[in-house]
Amino acid sequence: MSKQRINWYKYAAPANFYPLAGKLIPLFAIPAAVLFIWGMYVGFFVAPPTDAQQHEYYRIIYIHVPAAWMGMFLYVLMALYAGVGWAFNARLGSMMATAIAPTGAIFTFISLVTGSLWGRPAWGVWWVWDARLTSTLILMFLYIGFISLQSSIDDVRRADRAGAVLAVVGVINVPIIYFSVQWWNSLHQGATITARSFKMAPSMRSAMFIMVGACWLYSIAVCLVRVRHIIREREQEAPWLTESPA
């Protein structure tokens, strides 16, 4: 029995992970595309027209909330991988962190832009220096800082370690974003979805969760593609990429 167990440590080696990641990519990319289309359909054609409180611009929610969540999730994931790569000297962990950063930055940027496009009709302003918005902007800067710090150091393992310090310290910002609407008096609306209640029409809620699923699958697919590129770039001279197999 024990002999048949999968040796997960095997896949901590970039040489073994590379082909595995290649096989996994379509398993995430194709469902991601399907869910994006399905989520958009439910969000625009099934979810009911607006009530008196929210106008049609509420439909921005299907991209705004998933993007904002992804920005935070991916940051925590990036910090975890960076931390593992640093603490256990695991190259693949650091490569994963580097692969996640641009996608996290993109989702954070999308959440800021769509939030701004929602804020203008809802609040009358594109931007306010409110706790939720400001801490999300800091998240964006943390991603940019991580990416530019890493690219400014030539020695890759040193770059990994420096990035890991920044990523791990910056994790403190994520609970600040999450709880900002409770801790400070904020213009931004509070959590609509909590463990206890969903203050949303069922079709709206399902459209949003389908979009969250789509964003997750998209992120996994894109990060796997990117980590494969990083492996290739970093291990150009590695024998497993060049030697003939035995």
């Binding site: 290649g22 099934v46 009911p48 611009y57 496009l117 009709p121 894109v222 590129h229 024998p239 060049t242």
Partner: protein
């Protein structure tokens, strides 16, 4: 089309079309852009490095006789 009487009604989003479609437009451009950048990066790696592994794992290690 139960929500919308016509396509023009759909696109106008109750007068907020610019905000709604602007949001989805930005997201679409950025996500598609990310995929295109990754595709370009793959091509660059292939050109710079080992052209024979560009086309996939199956053809890995076929004709390289460089190092030694």
């Amino acid at each position: 089309m139960s929500n919308w009487g016509s396509w023009s009604e759909f696109f106008s989003m109750g007068g907020f079309g610019l905000y709604v479609w602007g949001s989805y437009g930005v997201a679409l451009v950025l996500l598609v852009g990310e995929v295109l950048m990754l595709w370009k990066r793959k091509r660059n790696i292939a050109r710079r490095g080992h052209p024979e592994i560009a086309s996939g794992e199956t053809q890995l290690n076929t004709s390289f006789q460089g190092i030694q």
